[in-house]
Symmetry: C2
C-alpha cells in the first residue's frame, strides 16, 4: 500500500455515523467529478492526466531536460503560483531543500518570475555571471506580470551571452497550445514550446509540462512520478468511504470544519517537505477559499516548529486540526553517538537511529496534540520515491476536488486573484484602467 | 522616523473610541511591564537589554566572530526555536535568503540541531567534507534533544578533523552563565562560552549572545543592531496610544481579535523576510497561544503568495487580518527593459523601476484586501539596515508583551512545549518516565 490514512488520532472527534451520514453527498460529488457536470467542469483534465497524457510531448520533455543538463550550469524557471510551486515542491521533496549547494551532476535550479523584487532579480543575475544559463518560461497567457518581466530581463541576458541565434538553445517556453502572443512569438523565434493544457488549472498542473520539465532537469524520473499518480487514480475509483482513503480525508476535513475546526495545519517531520507544504497550501487555499468560507491552510515542519508554533497548537484556540504526512520506509539513517561524559543526559539514546527518534517524536506529539484537543489526521506514505510522491500528489488533488464540492464551492476557479491585479494595473497606468485609477487615487 | 504604523487600511474596521476605551488598560499593562509585577516578570530582561548589556561579552562576541570568519569556511549554528530563529531571520533579512550561494568573504552558515532528521544531518556532514568548520552550540540547559544530539555528532567530526586540542578553536558554546552540565563541560574542555541570560526567554533572545554571535559571523554590525533596538526602547516609553505606535499595533491586534479576526498574517514583499516572518510567528504564537486563546500567526511573501493564499485572503472566511511590513528607502533597483515585440503587452511598464512596481502591487493589494473585508495594518520601516531591523525587533517584542497582557495571558512562558517532549521521552525509554510510557503504550 502506497498511502494509508490512519485515523486513530481523529477518532475521538468524529463518530462513525458522521461518515455514514455524508456518504450520499460523497456519491453525488463523485458523480459530478466523473460525469463532469459540476461547477468548474471545464478544468477536470488533471483527473485522467496520469494515464491520458501526450506521449510525444512527454518524450520531448525528457530530451529537453537532457539537453539542459548538458548545456547549462544554472537553470532558471520563470513562473508564479502553480507554475512554480509544483516543480519546486517535487524537486526539494525528492532531492533536498538545499539542492543548489549539494554536489551533483545536474544544473543548479533557481525560481524567478515569482515576485516583483529587484533585490531578488539582481542577486540572480549576479549568480549567472560566468555561468551557462538556460530558462524555462511558464505562463499560459504570457501576460502575467511577474514571469513576463523576468523573461524580458533573462532574454536580454541570454541574447547578450549567446547572441540571438545561440539563445534559442537556452530558452524553453511552456504556454498555451496555440493562442496567445507568447506562443506566437516563441514559434517565430524558434524556441521549443510545451503545453499548458486548457483543462488543467495552475494549481493542478504539476503533472503537465509545467512541472515535468523542471523536475526532469533535476534528474528525477518523471515516468515513475506519473506511474505513481496513475496508481492513485486507479485506487480511488470507488466512492465508498470504507474503501477510499482519499475521499475519507476530504470528508474528515469537512466534518471537522463544520465543527468549527477552521484552520488545517499540514505537518511534516522533514524540512525537504517545506515547499511541498507550500504547494498544498495553494492547492487547498485557492480551491476552497471563496464565498466567505473555506479551511485556512497553514503548515509547519516538526520538530523544528514544535519550538515555535507548538505552544499555540498545544494550548491556543481550539479551532485547529493537523494533517501529518509521514514517510514510512527507506529514510536516511544516523546512529546517535555515545558520549562518555553524558553532558546532555541523553545516553539512553546512544546507538539509536535518529530516524527512530524522529518517528517517536511524532508519536509523542500525536498523543499530546490529540489530548490537547487538536484532531490529527495521519497520512502514511510508503517511501520517499517519485512513484510515491506522484501518488500523494494525485491523492491531494482528488481529495481537494471532493472537499470543494462538499463545501459547496467551485474548487477550480480563483476569481479573487484578479482584485489586486486590477488595482495594480490601474495604479501603474495600464491603458483601459483609467476610471479605476481615478477612483483609487481619490482614496489615497 | 525609523518605523511608522499606517492605519489607513484598518480604519474602516475600528472606531476612534475603541482606542480611547482601551487606553486605561494599556496604562495598567505598561506599569506591569515597567514595574515588573505582572505575570512572567522574571523574564523582562529583554526590555533594557539594548542599553544595559554586558559590554565585555559584546567585545568577546566580535572577537570570536572575527576568529570564526578567519578560520572556517562553514559555520554551523546548533539550536532550536529561539536559539536559531532570531539570528537566521536577521542574517537573511540583511543579507539574503540565498546567503550561502552568494560570493562573499564570510563563511557559509548552516543551521542544525533544529530538527531530528537524519537526512538533514547526513547532508550537512557531506557539505562539511574538505571544509574548515566551526560550530556554535546554543542551549540554555544543554539538555534539549535536538541541539544536544547535533553537538554529539559535530563534536566527533571536529575532533576527528582537528584533534581534541585543535577542536577547541572551533567550538563556541552559548549557554547558562553558571549552572548546567554544558557550562561545566565547556569550561573543563576549554571552549569559549557566552551567556543565555536568566531573565530573557528564548524567543526574546536575538539581541543576546544567542543571536549576536551568528549575526556577527555573517558580517553584520551588531553595534548598529543594538543601537536601533535602543532607539526603539527610547521612542516607546510613553504609553499614550496617540504617541506610541508600538502599543497601537498591540491594541489594534487585540481589538480585531475581539471582533473575531482570529488569524493574523504577517506580509512582506521581499523573500529575504521569509525567516523574519518565522521569527515573528514564534514570538507571537508562543507568547499568546495559551489558555485556549490567542491570535493564530501565519505569514506570506507577496506578490508570490498572492498567487497561492491570495484567493483565500480576498474571498475566504472573514476571520483574517494582515500586518504588512514594508521597507521605504534604499531598496535594490532594476529598470524594466522595453520589448519592441511587446509580447506580454506590458510596455506601459518599460523603463519603470521594478521596486516601484512592487510597491504599487502593495498599494493595489492593500485596497483590494481592505475592500474584501480584511483589515491591513501597515508598518513602514525606513530602510534595510541593521539599525532599522534592530528597531523593528524591539518594536515587535514590546508590542508582543503589551498584547499578551491585554489578552490576559503570561506572554513569557510556554508550558505547552513540554507535552510532546514528555511523551517522546517516555516512548524512548528515558529513566523516570516509566509510568507515562506504560500509559502511552496501552493506548497504541
Amino acid at each position: 500500500m502506497i498511502l494509508k490514512m490512519n485515523d486513530k488520532f481523529v477518532k475521538p472527534f468524529i463518530a462513525d455515523h458522521e461518515y455514514e451520514n455524508i456518504q450520499p453527498m460523497v456519491n453525488v460529488a463523485d458523480r459530478m467529478l466523473r460525469e463532469q457536470n459540476g461547477p468548474g467542469n471545464d478544468y477536470l483534465g488533471w483527473m485522467t492526466l496520469p494515464s491520458d497524457y501526450d506521449k510525444e510531448e512527454f518524450a520531448r520533455i525528457k530530451d529537453a531536460a537532457a539537453k539542459i543538463q548538458k548545456n547549462c550550469d544554472v537553470f532558471i524557471v520563470l513562473g508564479i503560483g502553480g507554475s512554480y510551486l509544483g516543480s519546486r515542491a517535487v524537486i526539494e521533496f525528492l532531492k533536498s531543500q538545499r539542492y543548489n549547494v549539494l554536489k551533483k551532476d545536474t544544473p543548479d535550479i533557481y525560481f524567478s518570475g515569482c515576485n516583483i523584487s529587484p533585490a531578488d532579480m539582481n542577486e540572480l543575475l549576479e549568480l549567472c555571471e560566468g555561468k551557462d544559463v538556460s530558462i524555462n518560461v511558464i505562463s499560459k497567457s504570457g501576460t502575467t506580470t511577474e514571469p513576463a518581466v523576468a523573461f524580458r530581463v533573462f532574454r536580454n541576458l541570454l541574447e547578450e551571452k549567446y547572441g540571438v541565434d545561440g539563445a534559442r538553445d537556452h530558452i524553453f517556453i511552456t504556454t498555451d497550445r496555440s493562442r496567445g502572443t507568447l506562443k506566437q512569438f516563441a514559434d517565430q523565434a524558434g524556441y521549443e514550446t510545451f503545453v499548458v493544457p486548457d483543462d488543467v488549472g495552475g494549481r493542478f498542473s504539476v503533472l503537465t509540462a509545467v512541472g515535468l520539465l523542471p523536475i526532469a532537469v533535476a534528474g528525477i524520473s518523471i515516468d515513475e512520478l506519473m506511474q505513481g499518480a496513475d496508481a492513485a487514480r486507479g485506487d480511488y475509483i470507488n466512492p465508498s468511504l470504507a474503501k477510499n482513503d482519499c475521499y475519507r480525508y476530504a470528508v474528515t476535513r469537512i466534518i471537522l470544519y463544520r465543527k468549527g475546526k477552521s484552520t488545517e495545519i499540514l505537518v511534516n517531520y522533514e524540512n525537504y517537505a517545506t515547499m511541498f507544504n507550500e504547494w498544498w497550501k495553494q492547492l487547498y487555499g485557492e480551491s476552497e477559499g471563496k464565498d466567505n468560507r473555506g479551511i485556512y491552510p497553514s503548515s509547519v515542519i516538526f520538530s523544528t516548529d514544535l519550538h515555535s508554533l507548538g505552544q499555540y497548537i498545544q494550548e491556543g484556540r481550539r479551532n485547529l486540526f493537523e494533517t501529518v504526512v509521514t514517510v514510512n520506509e527507506g529514510g536516511s539513517s544516523l546512529l546517535i553517538p555515545d558520549d562518555p561524559h553524558n553532558i546532555d543526559g541523553l545516553n539512553f539514546l546512544s546507538g539509536m537511529d535518529l530516524d527512530y527518534v524522529n518517528k517517536t517524536a511524532m508519536q509523542g506529539t500525536l498523543f499530546a496534540h490529540m489530548d490537547g484537543g487538536v484532531p490529527n489526521i495521519v497520512l502514511e506514505l510508503k517511501d520517499r520515491t517519485a512513484f510515491s510522491l506522484g501518488y500523494l500528489i494525485y491523492f491531494f488533488e482528488l481529495s481537494c476536488a471532493m472537499s470543494g464540492y462538499l463545501l459547496g464551492v467551485n474548487p477550480f476557479n480563483q476569481p479573487g486573484v484578479e482584485s489586486y491585479k486590477k488595482n495594480m494595473f490601474a495604479l501603474l497606468g495600464k491603458p483601459g484602467y483609467e476610471d479605476r485609477r481615478a477612483a483609487l487615487e481619490a482614496r489615497m
